[in-house]
């Protein structure tokens, strides 16, 4: 009789105003209405509750929403139960039945529109783009009294209750695009897919919730943290605009909306104010309509236009809504990302403190938050470290990329007999124990006897079994106490070195390194146990003996022949050049070096592989040193290097 037409009022409206694109809201309130792609920042489990009250003349409070969300990598899933998303209309059908001459009975109707629950899925493709869909389930309960004739022997008019429940699903998709930190966009469908029951009862046809397709585009401009602007335009010429912001842990905003089917032009406001922590968020919001909603509404307009949005239509009352969200896992918002890690050093377990000074890896991080952050890098290698080894904090400005070092402390109890390939886990943390990002890389962990060929690092082998060397050296010196006591005090170091060498070589034979492909260095106790070794092993063992009794040593690295490098020993006699005659009149048999006080001291080179006696080893050491280091300018050219053990 009277044609009905469809309306599309503010399908993107929700109860919290425009918070959908806000980074500072990490826990969602499941506002599928303005956020159909349900993009949000929650990283783990989140639960939400919305409780509100309507001012309809009386005061009705109800649970609007209970929701849960879960983030799995770049996938986020959410579900909500919305018992309070319902609108009930009561009216007289206009039909009356004359019961008798003086009495009539008016027939009543009750139409209820409900959105019962919704499901959401979103996929974050990259930092700029995410897309998703929402699926929402609606129920429409139509109940109406009718008068109906019943014909038997006589004709009667009876009153019947006519009812029909219509269910339908609504599916929408949305895309969020973050152009940069200041401009963000959202494109989403409205009523993209609707499928479900159609009314079969004539009386209810035309009263279904309107499901006209449309779309909305939203833009957000974020010039400051404390003040930003958002705008949503719907294809039906409705729009809303809002300003939101945050200061410290407080969030706030106000949304105004125009709905072409609501009066006045700006139909209402949605103010919001909230407080957030990493663990929970609470938001107090309201919907205030500029038109008086407590006046009686006419049936004719409802009949002609119906409704298309359950929570915001011309019959909606002013509301106040309290939203609570809890982050169950307390996983903080990710603030930095670990882009890449480069391992710059192999791991030699014996070099236990070398990685305290020299990072074994460097990571590249980027601050994706809007604030300056202190990043703590840390690393853990299974079987190598005891827990995570933290490196010093690095300060990174918003948006900046920075390189962070990863230092390492190797467990003292480590006993690596052979090289293994292990996984190194690299972490970057900002505020909590939960890392913001992590990366795993394979790392080669050498055996404890492995050496990188750098003579400097032989010091680690020298100092490894210092107690053993000390006991060994003291035993020898005590056995020769009479000799030492009868000498000049100035010759103490020289004679000790001589005695120790002569005892040392008695038990040793030269054995070349059996591990051709890998540098292998014995610890002093292993050399004594095996009664031999190559130049590295013998030099390490002899140095260890000398150092254990306080004689300063240096390793002489001969690099002339790349195929066969050689190491021998030089020790400090503590004699001055003037006192050198106490040990030799041949000034080519020693080498003058300045100590830390810039005083010249006499150093003597010893060829540790000459396993005859001290004099022979001295002669061979001097001969090699003079030839390669001095005559052939090895020291000047770098082909011969003197490396102080300490």
């Amino acid at each position: 009789m009277i044609p009905s037409y469809k309306i599309l009022p503010q399908s993107s409206s929700d109860l919290n105003g425009y918070f959908g694109l806000q980074d500072f809201i990490s826990i969602p309130f499941y506002n599928y209405e303005s956020n159909p792609d349900n993009f949000f920042n929650t990283k783990d489990w989140g639960i939400s509750l919305q409780y509100g009250a309507e001012f309809s003349g009386s005061f009705n409070s109800s649970i609007y929403l209970l929701g849960i969300s879960k983030r799995i990598g770049n996938h986020s899933l959410s579900a909500r139960y919305t018992p309070g998303f319902q609108k009930e209309f009561l009216f007289s059908t206009g039909e009356s039945i004359v019961v008798n001459d003086t009495t009539t009975q008016s027939l009543e109707a009750n139409y209820t529109y409900k959105e019962l629950f919704g499901l959401g899925y979103s996929y974050k493709m990259n930092e700029q783009l995410s897309a998703g869909l929402s699926l929402r389930f609606f129920e429409q309960d139509f109940n109406q009294q009718i008068v109906k004739p019943v014909f038997g022997d006589t004709l009667y008019l009876v009153t019947e209750n006519l009812s029909e429940d219509l269910n339908f699903w609504k599916a929408d998709i949305g895309i969020d695009y973050f152009l940069n930190d200041q401009l963000q966009f959202r494109l989403a469908s409205i009523n993209l897919l609707n499928f479900g029951d159609d009314p079969t009862t004539e009386e209810f046809q035309g009263f279904e919730i309107k499901q006209e397709r449309g779309a909305f585009i939203a833009a957000g401009f974020f010039p400051y943290n404390y003040l930003n602007f958002n705008f949503i335009y719907e294809t039906t010429s409705s729009f809303q605009f809002s300003t939101t912001g945050n200061a410290n842990k407080f969030v706030y905003g106000v949304t105004a909306f125009h709905d072409q089917y609501q009066e006045p032009y700006i139909a209402g406001l949605v103010p919001s104010f909230g407080y957030r922590t990493n663990l929970f968020e609470v938001l107090l919001s309201g919907v205030y309509y500029f038109s008086d909603r407590t006046n009686d509404a006419g049936f004719s307009q409802f009949y002609e236009e119906g409704i298309d949005n359950i929570i915001n239509n011309r019959y909606s009352y002013n509301k106040i809504v309290l939203s609570l969200a809890l982050n169950i896992s307390s996983t903080p918002e990710k603030k930095v990302e670990l882009i890449d890690v480069q391992i710059v050093r192999e791991i030699y377990p014996t070099f236990y403190d070398m990685y305290l000074d020299k990072p074994f890896a460097y990571g590249k991080i980027v601050n994706i938050s809007s604030e300056q952050v202190k990043v703590t890098p840390s690393v853990r290698i299974e079987g190598i470290t005891e827990g995570n080894i933290n490196s010093p904090q690095v300060l990174v400005e918003p948006g900046d990329t920075s390189t962070v070092p990863f230092y390492l402390i190797i467990s003292e109890s480590l006993n690596m007999e052979r090289a293994t390939l292990s996984n190194a886990d690299f972490y970057v943390n900002v505020t909590s124990n939960q890392p913001d990002d992590e990366m795993q890389k394979p790392a080669l962990v050498n055996s404890e006897n492995a050496w990188d060929g750098n003579v400097v690092n032989l010091r680690y082998f020298i100092s490894k079994d210092m107690n053993f060397s000390m006991n060994y050296a003291k035993n020898i010196l005590s056995e020769n106490k009479n000799i030492l006591d009868s000498l000049l005090a100035e010759l103490d170091e020289f004679e000790k070195a001589k005695l120790l060498f002569n005892e040392f070589v008695k038990k040793m034979t030269y054995v070349s390194d059996p591990r051709a492909s890998v540098e292998y260095v014995q610890f002093p106790n292993q050399t004594f146990e095996l009664k031999g070794g190559d130049c590295d092993d013998l030099s390490v063992a002899y140095c260890s003996l000398l150092e254990s009794v306080g004689i300063q040593t240096a390793l002489v690295d001969y690099k002339n022949d790349l195929q066969l490098r050689h190491v021998n020993v030089m020790f400090n006699t503590k004699l001055s050049p003037e006192q050198a005659a106490l040990i030799t009149n041949n000034d080519s048999k020693y080498f003058i070096r300045k100590n830390e006080q810039d005083i010249d001291e006499v150093w003597v080179p010893i060829e540790t592989t000459s396993l005859t006696n001290f004099g022979e080893a001295w002669n061979l050491g001097v001969e090699k040193f003079n030839r390669e280091a001095l005559n052939e300018l090895g020291l000047a050219s770098g082909k011969v290097e003197i490396v102080d053990v300490y």
């Binding site: 018992p83 309070g84 206009g94 039945i97 049936f299």
Partner: protein, 301 residues
């Protein structure tokens, strides 16, 4: 802290869920002008007895109880065309002379003829007034007296009484003895002309009727739906709808399709726009009525 908050929010949710209301409903006020009353006029369609008081058989409840002065302009539209008639009648009852059914139930009162009545200065005829009724399954009639009657079926025949629409009919009463005269005008309503869009088929039970008429915009109209048996001319009134005089009503399909239409040949939609006024004279209430009637007779498809 985290656990406490989790338990707190879950327990709060459960508490609120079981304790709170549902959102407030909206009570809609009927501003459609589409409201109507429906009244069942006859329960027994098999044994209906017409009072024969007018050609449509549906307009007045002439049960012999209420003193009545009535003028009517009547149109009857059939497939052959439209016939216009005018009717004026009056009847007065002697409440001291009741007539009862055999079971003691009041049937009516005997009429009296207190004087001379003129409508538009035409003297009304005095004719016998028989009341038809059914008792114990047998159709009976009884003469309860006389009544005043004028009717003009065609061009002033048999009586030169013309019903003037949207105007007035003059009424004059003179006693036989003493010559006291009472006169007053009876206002008449605007002529009503109806139209029926009747679709569907009875066998499919999908008949639908949408009725339109020329609206007067004020007051109400009555629409009476009646049925006519095959080979008969008397309509059996079934429903009376009373609705605003806004020009349109859609008859709920169920009210038509649930009727035993297979026993009837025609359906009659009668549009009635009337002015009525009761005058209280103690035990002798007087109903003064003027009405415009348009009956449309349609073969049941």
């Amino acid at each position: 802290m985290k656990k406490i908050l989790t338990y707190l929010i879950i327990s709060t949710s459960v508490f609120l869920l079981v304790s709170c209301d549902k959102p407030a409903p909206t009570q809609l006020v009927d501003d459609t002008n589409n409201d109507y009353e429906v009244e069942l006029l006859n329960k027994d369609l098999e044994n209906y007895i017409s009072s024969g008081s007018d050609t449509s058989g549906v307009t007045q409840d002439l049960t012999g109880l209420t003193n009545l002065i009535s003028v009517s302009g009547i149109k009857i539209t059939t497939s052959k065309g439209t016939i216009s008639t005018s009717l004026a009648q009056a009847m007065f009852f002697d409440k001291s002379k009741p007539i009862y059914y055999s079971d003691g139930k009041l049937l009516g009162y005997r009429t009296i003829i207190p004087g001379i009545i003129k409508f538009n200065e035409t003297e009304a005829n005095i004719v016998p007034y028989r009341l038809k009724f059914r008792e114990e399954g047998i159709q009976k009639d009884t003469l309860i007296g006389n009544r005043y009657l004028l009717y003009n079926i065609f061009g002033g025949v048999p009586d030169p009484f013309y019903f003037n629409y949207n105007a007035q009919v003059s009424f004059e009463f003179s006693t036989f003895i003493g010559g006291n005269t009472v006169t007053f005008p009876i206002l008449t309503p605007k002529e009503i002309t109806g139209n029926v869009v009747f679709t569907g088929k009875s066998i499919n039970k999908n008949l639908e009727a949408t009725l339109n008429w020329n609206t007067d915009g004020i007051g109400k109209v009555s629409i009476i739906i009646g049925l006519i048996r095959p080979n008969q001319i008397t309509s059996i009134p079934v429903y009376r709808f009373r609705t605003r005089d806004d020009g349109e009503i859609r008859i709920p399909a169920r009210l038509i399709n649930q009727l035993p239409l297979y026993r009837f040949e025609k359906i009659v939609f009668t549009f009635v726009r009337s002015y009525e006024g009761y005058h209280d004279y103690g035990d002798n209430d007087l109903l003064v009525s003027s009405q415009s009637i348009h009956s449309i007779v349609i073969e049941i498809p």
